[in-house]
Symmetry: C2
Subunit: 121 residues, 2 copies
């Protein structure tokens, strides 16, 4: 796929690269109203709890882990997906084999429009 509107989850040459935390790497695809972020989480690694005003959805594509959201822990398996309303504190802890998560932000998070590190808050 070479068209600029067609991508693949496993093509690490695509998207804007960001290291969210040690063991959490993402490739970011900004649209007009929505932004996709393909997050690779190493085994047993976890980001810091954070929040932002943008609505977020997550889909667990590979592996397993724990979605920490609004002070509660939710064990998740492949195919699980979840909504995180704006302002709700959250993070994700990878399972023993790590995890691949599709995060969806709307509106796009302006902090994620450029390469860098951290959760941008």
């Amino acid at each position: 796929m070479t068209d600029k509107t067609f991508f693949n989850l496993h093509d690490l040459s695509q998207g804007i690269q960001r290291q969210l935390a040690d063991g959490l790497e993402t490739h970011i695809f900004p649209g007009e109203n929505v932004m996709l972020s393909i997050v690779r989480i190493a085994p047993d690694r976890e980001g810091e709890v954070h929040s932002h005003p943008e609505e977020q959805w997550g889909v667990l594509l590979e592996g397993s882990g724990v979605r920490v959201q609004d002070g509660q822990e939710h064990a998740v398996s492949v195919g699980d997906f979840w909504q995180t309303p704006g302002g709700v504190p959250h993070t994700f802890r990878g399972g023993p084999e790590g995890a691949l998560v599709l995060d969806i932000f709307s509106p796009p998070r302006p902090e994620y429009r450029k390469a860098g590190s951290g959760f941008g808050d």
Copy 2:
């Protein structure tokens, strides 16, 4: 998962059901700024070409098929994803084993907030 913000792609009891066309069934999850639609496409079935003002992204989760977009045909495999800007005519044709596609709309499509049939245009 019983929490109303946690779902699974394969739980057919969840979401708002809509028959887009013969052989294309979806379960829709509206958020505030974004709407997810889990579309099951039967082998070799195809929807009608349509468009809408809302931005759309699609992710091929299972199977294979052809994304028809802006008059061009793009063969897609599992893990491929694509952006469809608002107003661009599009449809999807399932491959020989069918397809499971995650569609993402922003803003949410008002036509899809209730159960029904058709593409809503």
